[in-house]
C-alpha cells in the first residue's frame, strides 16, 4: 500500500516535470511546399519523372470484327464478335479479362444495393411501394451464348461485370490471341432508367436507338493497374484499349444509322439523292448541308419497313464503338478543314429536336473541333457526330448523345438552348479526353471530365465571340462552370460531404462538382492566375500530345504540367487535387510606421540582444507606429529625410548629388499583415488604392507562405498614402470568405441585403 502510494507520487512528479519543460515535440516534414514524393508513384521506365511515356512504355491492343443485329420489334441486340488481342507488355498473361458492362443492369445486380438506406418516419404511399413492394425488375445484362477459340469452347468465369477468359496456354509477351463471343441482350429504355445507352419511344411509336456498351469489351492491362478489373458500379466510367473495328450492323431498311468510324458501303445504304448531298457536304466548309430532310424523315416515320439492311463501319485506333439508328432521323453535315484531313461534322436528330438542332448542333461541333485542336492536337478522326437524345449527355469515339429539346410548339428557353450547346461542346470534346488521351475513367473521373470541362469553358467563350447573335442578351457565353466564383459554394460546404478530386468516382459525394467543376476551375485558375497563358498552354498541349493515343495516369498529367513549364506545382496539386482544403486569404492588420533618429524602447531592447548596450555608439534608424509610446502627432506627414538626420547624412556621405536625385524617397511606410485561414496556399493578389485615387495591383507568389502557413507580412514603402487595400479584387482564386479581404474593413452588405436593396420599389 505504501509502495503503491510512493509510486503514484513518483509518476505524478515526473508528469509535472514533463509539463513544466514544455518542449514541443518534433515533427516530420509537413510543409505545404514539400514535393509529392509520398503521394505519387515512383517514376520508372514505363512512365518517366518528366511525365512522358518512358522508353519501355507499352500498351496492348484489341481489334474487333463484329456482326450486330438490332431487332426493332423486340429491342433485342444479337451480336457476335471476334477479338484479336495483342500482348505488347513484357509479361506473360495467364488469363484475359473482358468487360460486361451491361450486367450492371442484370436482375440481381449488386449495384442496386450499393447505397445505404433506411425507413423514413413518413413516406408517400408511392415511394413506400417503390422501396418495399418491388415488382419484377428489368431483365438486363448480357446473355453470353458462347466463348470460343479455334472452334473450341473456351473456359470462362463471369464475375458480375467482368469475365475471365482462361486460355489453354498463357499469352506470351508480344503474342496475339484471337477468340470469339456470341451474346444477346435486352436494350433498356434510357428515358426511363437513365442508362448511358438504350432507346427512346417517340410519340408516334417509333424508336430512336443510341447504342453503346453493347458488346463484351477487353479490359485494359497496363503497368499501373495490371488488369483494370474494378467492377462497373455505375459511376466510374470506362477503361478501354485502342484497336481497329470492323462492324456490320443490321437494322430495318428505312433507318438512318451512323456510328464510330466510316461507313464503307455508303452507296448501298444512302439514296442517290442523299449520296449527292453527302458529296456536297464534303465540300461545304461554311455551313451544313441537309442530308436527310425533316419532311423525308417524317415520311419514313409514317411507314414501318420490316425488311432490313446492313451498314458496314470501319474505325481505326479507337477505344470503343457506338452507333445510333432510327427511321425518324434528320441529318446534316459540313466539312472542317485540318492540315492533315477534312473532318465531317455531323448532326443527327429527330423532328423533336427542331428548330434548335438544325440551327446550333453542327455549329457547336465545328467550334469544339476548332478550339480543342488549337489547345491540344488536330482532330485525328474522320468525323464527329452529335446525336439528339432526350436527357442524354454521353460520349463515345466520333459520336455522342446530347440533350436539348424544344417545347412541343417549337419554342425554347435560353436555358434549353445554352444547355444544348454546352452539352454538345462537352461531349464532342470528350473525343480528346478520354477517347484519344485515353485516361482510366474507372479510377479517375476527373482526368477526362475535369480536363474536358475546362476545355469546354474555353470553347464556350470562343463560341460566344464567334456567334454574338446566339448569346444575345449576354456579354459572354453563360458558362455554368469554369469561373472561380462558381466553385466557392462547393468548396465551403460541409467537409463531411466533400472528397478530394483524387478519389474514385464511386466514392465521391457530389460527382458533378468533384470531377467536373472543381478540376476545371483549378485548371482555369492555374492558367489565369498561377502560370499565365503561355506557360500553361504549352504544358497542357505537351500533355495532350505526349499522351494522345496512350493511357496517361494522374501523375503523368501533374508531372508534365511542371516539366514543360518549370513551374513547381506540387503545392497546387496537393491543395486542389489531393485534399479538400479551400482558399481563404485575408488582411489581418495594416500598420503605418514613422521614421525617427531617437532611440526607441523596442529598438533598445533589440540592440541589447545583439550586445549593443549603448545605442548612441552606432548609427541607426528607428521606427514607431501610432501605438508606440514614442509616437508624437508631429510625425504625421513629415518627410522621411526630415525626420531622420542620420538617414539624410548617410545619403549625402555615400551618394553623389546625381545618384541621390535618382533615389526614390518614400513618404509612407506600412506593414501589411496577411492571414490565411484557408488550407491552400495561393498567390496573394492585392490591390492598393492611394489617396489620389490611383490603384496598383501586386501579386506575391504562393511561395510567400512556405515558412509560415498562417500569416505573412509585407513592408510597403510608398510615395502616396494608401487608403484602401483589397485582396483578390477580381475574385480569381475561389476565396471562400471575402469578409476579411479588405482594409479598412468594408461594412459589406450580405447577399440578402444586396438583393433587397436592388429590388426596392
Amino acid at each position: 500500500m505504501l509502495l503503491a502510494a510512493f509510486l503514484l507520487l513518483g509518476t505524478s512528479t515526473y508528469a509535472q516535470e514533463e509539463q513544466t519543460q514544455e518542449r514541443p515535440m518534433g515533427h516530420e516534414n509537413t510543409n505545404k511546399f514539400r514535393q509529392l514524393y509520398n503521394e505519387m508513384s515512383t517514376p520508372n521506365e514505363y512512365r518517366t519523372a518528366s511525365g512522358a511515356p518512358g522508353h519501355a512504355y507499352y500498351q496492348n491492343t484489341a481489334d474487333y470484327k463484329m456482326s450486330i443485329n438490332l431487332n426493332d420489334d423486340t429491342q433485342i441486340i444479337q451480336g457476335s464478335e471476334t477479338i484479336t488481342y495483342t500482348n505488347n507488355s513484357p509479361d506473360n498473361l495467364e488469363y484475359l479479362w473482358v468487360q460486361l458492362d451491361q450486367n450492371v443492369r442484370e436482375k440481381n445486380s449488386p449495384a442496386k444495393e450499393k447505397n445505404g438506406e433506411g425507413v423514413g418516419a413518413v413516406s408517400q404511399p408511392g415511394s413506400f411501394v417503390g422501396s418495399f413492394m418491388k415488382s419484377e425488375p428489368f431483365d438486363g445484362g448480357f446473355k453470353i451464348q458462347e466463348v470460343k477459340a479455334n472452334g473450341r469452347d473456351l473456359k470462362h468465369t463471369i464475375n458480375w461485370t467482368m469475365m475471365r477468359i482462361d486460355m489453354p496456354q498463357p499469352l506470351k509477351a508480344g503474342e496475339t490471341y484471337t477468340f470469339s463471343i456470341k451474346w444477346s441482350y435486352l436494350i433498356p429504355e434510357h428515358t426511363v432508367d437513365r442508362a448511358r445507352s438504350g432507346y427512346e419511344t417517340y410519340a408516334d411509336g417509333n424508336k430512336g436507338y443510341i447504342i453503346a456498351q453493347f458488346f463484351p469489351r477487353m479490359a485494359v492491362y497496363n503497368d499501373v493497374e495490371g488488369w483494370q478489373n474494378y467492377q462497373f458500379w455505375g459511376n466510374g466510367e470506362f477503361a478501354l484499349p485502342f484497336g481497329d473495328y470492323e462492324v456490320d450492323i443490321t437494322v430495318p431498311k428505312d433507318h438512318l444509322l451512323d456510328g464510330t468510324g466510316e461507313i464503307t458501303n455508303l452507296k448501298d445504304v444512302y439514296s442517290k439523292e442523299e449520296m449527292k448531298r453527302w458529296e456536297q457536304a464534303k465540300k461545304s466548309y461554311d455551313k451544313p448541308v441537309i442530308i436527310r430532310t425533316q419532311a423525308e424523315a417524317e415520311t419514313l416515320a409514317a411507314g414501318n419497313v420490316k425488311a432490313t439492311q446492313t451498314w458496314k463501319l470501319k474505325a481505326e485506333n479507337v477505344r470503343d464503338f457506338a452507333f445510333t439508328s432510327s427511321r425518324r432521323y434528320i441529318m446534316d453535315a459540313q466539312a472542317v478543314k485540318f492540315p492533315e484531313r477534312d473532318v465531317m461534322a455531323i448532326s443527327i436528330y429527330p423532328p423533336e429536336g427542331n428548330p434548335l438542332w438544325e440551327e446550333y448542333s453542327t455549329k457547336a461541333i465545328v467550334q469544339t473541333l476548332d478550339t480543342y485542336s488549337k489547345y491540344t492536337f488536330n482532330y485525328p478522326y474522320p468525323k464527329a457526330i452529335s446525336v439528339h437524345a432526350k436527357g442524354q449527355g454521353m460520349e463515345y469515339p466520333m459520336i455522342c448523345w446530347n440533350y436539348g429539346r424544344p417545347n412541343e410548339d417549337g419554342t425554347y428557353s435560353d436555358r434549353t438552348k445554352f444547355g444544348m450547346i454546352s452539352v454538345i461542346i462537352h461531349e464532342v470534346g470528350h473525343n480528346y479526353f478520354p477517347m484519344i488521351v485515353n485516361s482510366d475513367e474507372r479510377q479517375w473521373g476527373w482526368m477526362d471530365e475535369g480536363l474536358d470541362t475546362f476545355m469546354q469553358f474555353l470553347t464556350e467563350q470562343e463560341f460566344g465571340q464567334n456567334f454574338p447573335d446566339a448569346i444575345k442578351g449576354n456579354d459572354a457565353y453563360p458558362s455554368r462552370r469554369g469561373a472561380p466564383s462558381k466553385i466557392v459554394g462547393y468548396m465551403k460546404g460541409d467537409q463531411q460531404y466533400i472528397a478530394p478530386i483524387m478519389s474514385n468516382p464511386e466514392n465521391a459525394f457530389n460527382l458533378g462538382a468533384n470531377a467536373y467543376g472543381k478540376p476545371a476551375t483549378a485548371l482555369n485558375i492555374l492558367r489565369e492566375t498561377v502560370m499565365g497563358h503561355e506557360l500553361f498552354d504549352h504544358a497542357f498541349k505537351t500533355y495532350a500530345q505526349r499522351w494522345m493515343f496512350k493511357h496517361p495516369s494522374p501523375e503523368d498529367f501533374f508531372r508534365t504540367m511542371e516539366d514543360a513549364s518549370a513551374v513547381d506545382l506540387d503545392w497546387f496539386w496537393r491543395g486542389w487535387f489531393y485534399s479538400t482544403e479551400f482558399v481563404d486569404i485575408g488582411l489581418k492588420e495594416v500598420k503605418q510606421y514613422y521614421v525617427t533618429d531617437n532611440v526607441t524602447e523596442e529598438g533598445k531592447q533589440l540592440l541589447a540582444r545583439y550586445g549593443v548596450t549603448d545605442p548612441s555608439t552606432i548609427e541607426a534608424i528607428y521606427v514607431v507606429d501610432e501605438d508606440s509610446p514614442e509616437f508624437t502627432e508631429d510625425m504625421r506627414g513629415r518627410d522621411i529625410l526630415e525626420s531622420s538626420t542620420t538617414l539624410k547624412e548617410y545619403l549625402m556621405d555615400n551618394f553623389t548629388p546625381e545618384e541621390r536625385a535618382k533615389i526614390n524617397t518614400p513618404k509612407f511606410l506600412y506593414k501589411v499583415v496577411f492571414e490565411k485561414p484557408g488550407g491552400i496556399p495561393m498567390p496573394i493578389i492585392v490591390e492598393y488604392e492611394y489617396a489620389d485615387g490611383t490603384k496598383k495591383k501586386v501579386t506575391y507568389p504562393a511561395q510567400v507562405w512556405r515558412k509560415n502557413d498562417a500569416e505573412v507580412s509585407k513592408a510597403i514603402a510608398s510615395d502616396k498614402e494608401i487608403v484602401k487595400i483589397t485582396v483578390d479584387p477580381d475574385l480569381e482564386t475561389a476565396d471562400i470568405d471575402t469578409d476579411n479581404n479588405s482594409w479598412p474593413k468594408a461594412k459589406k452588405l450580405g447577399e440578402f441585403d444586396t438583393f433587397k436593396n436592388q429590388n426596392k420599389g
Binding site: 437513365r194 459511376n235 440533350y403 462537352h426 440578402f752 429590388n759
Partner: protein, 191 residues
Amino acid sequence: MSYGIFIENDKARFRESVTNPCNFTMKNIILLLLVAPLMMAVSIHKYYLSVTDLNYNAEAQSIQIVTRIFYDDLEAVIQERYDTDIIVDATSDQKALDNYLIKYFQKKMLITINGEQRALRFVGKKYEDDFVVCYIEVPDVKAIKTFEIESTVLMDVFPDQKNMVHTTIGERKKSFLLTRANAKGLLNFTK
C-alpha cells in the same frame, strides 16, 4: 443508418427528364429513384440538394434566408402541386410563380422562434445558373432564445431530397443537413 443521410445516396439524373411534367407520374419517380444510381448518368450529374444560408441580422431584427434550389426540381414540384403548365424561368408569369412559391415555402419551411411559429415574407427570387435563388425573411425578430427550422422543401416529390441549412445567429454558426427522416434543426441560446 437512417434513410438518405449520405449525399452519395443522392440520385443523379438529368435535368431534362424532370422538366417535362408528363414525365413525373409517381411511377416514374419511383423508377427513377430506384434505378437511377446504377445507370446513372453520364455527363451532367446532379443531386437532390438545396443549400440555404440563414442569418440573423440583429440590427434589422430579421432572419434573412437565401435558398438555392435546382430550378428543375422546383419546377417539378410547382407543376405537380399547383400548375402543370408553369415553367420556372424568366419567360413565364413571375407574379403567378411568386404566389406559388410563397404558398409553398409557407408550408414547407417552418421557422419557430422562442416556441412560436413565424410567418415568412417572400422578398423575391432570381435565376442563377441551374438555380433559383429565393430570398425570404422573418421580420420583427427581437431576440432569439430558441430557434427551430423544419425544411421539407421538395421532399414531397423527391423523397431523397436533402436540404443543407447553414445558420449564423449571433456568434454561433451551425449547419444542418435536413432529410425526410430528420427534417428539423434546433438551436438553444439559453444554455
